[in-house]
Symmetry: C2
């Protein structure tokens, strides 16, 4: 009999609703506080910055929220994404485990980021915005938002950290090809940018500075532009649940159900989007899938951070939320999984982790690349360094199955391809990478910067 | 009713046979001549260079040749590939035409090249080879063969033109990630390489030199290694027919049939693989699909070349075949569609073009990039510069339909993605590219180098 490698869904099986975890949260993810007053912010305050529908979703207690048809029509450019059985990887590992991966790299922009970018652009268009502002570091998020804005005839103003702008011209080219307006940050186009340049004319920029510029342009536009964020917030996690909802149907086709579901975490959106539908079944359908969030040892937010209130950004301009944090001043080293270098984590995910509903593990950079190369040689796909963390965790679990002689079903989310990350593979193959592990004192020191919050 | 964007086939619909056009050729593609004696070569001669099964396929008159199961099992890593209806492109062009594209960029190596690389590696493994040698310019072919050899535990020795090796380190990284052994050419590992370095120690290399090195290593290995070629030859075109055979089934799903089928041509393999199954229906089933091969004006082999016997390579080491040629000394300018910079063309394709069974058109570089950017903004996919020639021809036909008010069905083969070609997009957006058009005298001069052949 023919062995099956891919489980594909028809376009008619594309989910018609996102799964909103709000009503099912066993514990509260905590309030959102104003960065200056440190008081809970109102939805009206957030609506100045984000589209109204986006803010409504953030506070909605409806379990399922309809995906508007214009968004579904765009999703159809690449969704439903395939679920693969990694038969050649299983063979290479000689494991009795069944390994599956959901591949979000088939998105035209190369990652899961497009799932929420399309939704945010649509909601912005609905309320007559002229465009969105955003920041981008490595460029994945700016790429997704540039393409999405273009589809709705919206401008996309991207502030790109200057050092990335100069060192990663191809990421900039992709955004510009999609019609994005990319400015190296800090720039002379904003007050905060000019101030940063005055302090240090030779600064190479930072994500904090880029956020400040993007937020400033949105706030000062008198409502013409709003600001868009690619992870962390509840609605972003919700938009990503199309991943897990599709996967549930695909596992039905495969006649299996995952014992373990794995995803990498930076801000937490791809993991949440993949895992939350399985978590719902854990809560309500008697399932007990282990959900494992994978982070780098170089930025061990969940595994070594403190669960406390902290600023969302280094510049203390973003709201304060309750999350596992390494401190907003924490500067992770320049590991190649740039998307996982965030000092905090999505508040929903942190609440679930603190409550014991999900697990977390931190992995070393060299191990993740070793797994990624094995994966490329067996399955063909060159994975993004971020996604390689998920691969590595899956490999470790599969090897544990081999050790124990158990035939577990292991699923992971392959959040994106690494076609624009080949410098990372080059450095790994050239033996130029190292691992990072911190002494407790360093993290303790960084955590001294937490704001004092009275609730 | 929901509009459909993608037509997907199950793995069970993956073709079980390739279509071999040999028995249906209305005219002979001509004999293969020895580059020195200029006499027709025997299959035995070719078997010293290529796998036996490959050579047998070259002379086979069976219309359908079984795809061995181990090859089909590997094809399933990414095949069947999707057929897309380009609804957003149609809307952007405001055309009544229905535009479809078959997307080969979903292959893990990013292009159609893998369809034949897997087959050649399998046949090499069958006869106990230790590995393959090959040359690569831009790197697409070397990537496909590196991955394929790895799957069969074969060594893959790639001679990469030195200037590409140095300027495109990421292509090298991909090959190395897949386990390929990549050497900049000319090298000191071969006699021909050392001779080239003696003539000019600072040479940046050429495809001709790289071919010489790869062939030398194969020939001198006493049968341990054979040489692999990624286009031009009959069996290569045949391995690519999985593309067109799948497309036929997908058009049945769509309830349409192409009036026009388009592909770009360098050596001719992706166009042939897409077009030949439609051509068979033209020959036998009363269909009359126009088949259009698209080449760059910078290398106008079919549209301006002579149909004559010429060497396959600049170094006069490859066999002499009958083809449309610009002369083996013709050096096209460094356009970004590197895969289309070949002075000749697959003999089968040339015979069919000469006989009037297919059409050809040459397009300017700037027009192809303009279409590629429109395509990226509407369909999302960043196409390879080579494939952008097919996009541009499809756009031109769709605009003609708009002019005439006709609702034609236009299909093209999108042979690969451009994620590793972003320097090209960057140059286009930065207004750094130009068009190329040659005076007749230049081509006449180049054609003086043709060998004298008496048959």
């Amino acid at each position: 009999m023919d062995q099956q490698y891919k489980y594909l869904l028809d376009e008619k099986d594309l989910p018609r609703q996102w799964y909103n975890i709000n009503p099912d949260m066993p514990v509260s993810p905590g309030p959102v506080l104003h960065p200056v007053t440190k008081e809970p912010v109102s939805p009206e305050f957030l609506m100045k910055l984000f589209p109204e529908e986006f803010v409504k979703q953030a506070v909605s207690m409806e379990r399922y929220i309809d995906i508007p048809e214009p968004i579904r029509e765009i999703y159809k450019l690449w969704r439903p994404t395939p679920l693969y059985r990694a038969r050649r990887l299983e063979k290479a590992l000689d494991t009795p485990a069944h390994i599956y991966y959901k591949y979000e790299g088939t998105s035209p922009v190369g990652s899961h980021k497009l799932n929420t970018a399309v939704a945010q652009a649509y909601y912005g268009k609905l309320e007559g915005l002229k465009g969105f502002t955003t920041e981008t570091g490595a460029g994945q998020w700016g790429t997704a938002l540039s393409f999405s804005c273009g589809l709705f005839d919206l401008e996309c103003i991207v502030y790109m950290v200057k050092v990335s702008y100069e060192q990663k011209p191809y990421r900039r080219s992709v955004m510009q090809t999609y019609g994005g307006d990319v400015t190296p940050s800090p720039s002379t186009t904003t007050k905060s940018g000019r101030a940063a340049l005055e302090r240090d004319p030779n600064t190479t920029g930072s994500l904090g500075m880029a956020i400040s510029e993007a937020v400033e342009v949105a706030v000062e536009s008198g409502g013409e532009y709003k600001y868009s964020l690619g992870s962390v917030l509840g609605p972003v996690l919700m938009h990503q649940t199309v991943i897990g909802l599709e996967a549930l149907k695909q596992f039905e086709m495969a006649g299996e159900y995952p014992d373990i579901a794995i995803g990498c975490v930076g801000g937490g959106s791809n993991f949440s989007g993949f895992a939350f539908p399985f978590l719902y079944n854990n809560f309500t359908a008697g399932k007990s899938t282990r959900l494992i969030a994978v982070e780098p040892t170089a930025c061990p937010t969940l595994t070594r951070g403190l669960y406390a209130f902290d600023y969302g950004d280094t510049a203390k301009m973003a709201p304060i939320v309750k999350m596992h944090t390494l401190g907003h001043n924490f500067v992770p080293p320049g590991i190649h999984a740039g998307g996982l270098r965030y000092h905090g984590m999505a508040p929903h995910l942190c609440a679930l982790y603190d409550h014991g509903d999900i697990e977390a593990v931190a992995l070393h950079q060299l191990d993740t690349f070793k797994s990624a190369v094995l994966f490329a040689q067996s399955e063909g796909i060159i994975a993004a360094p971020e996604s390689s963390h998920a691969i590595c965790a899956a490999v470790n679990e599969a090897l544990a199955c081999k050790e124990e002689g158990t035939e577990k079903v292991i699923a992971f989310n392959l959040s994106g391809h690494g076609h624009l990350d080949l410098a990372a593979y080059d450095a790994y193959l050239g033996d130029e990478l190292r691992n990072y592990e911190y002494p407790d004192e360093l993290i303790k020191e960084s955590l001294k910067s937490l704001p004092e919050v009275k609730l």
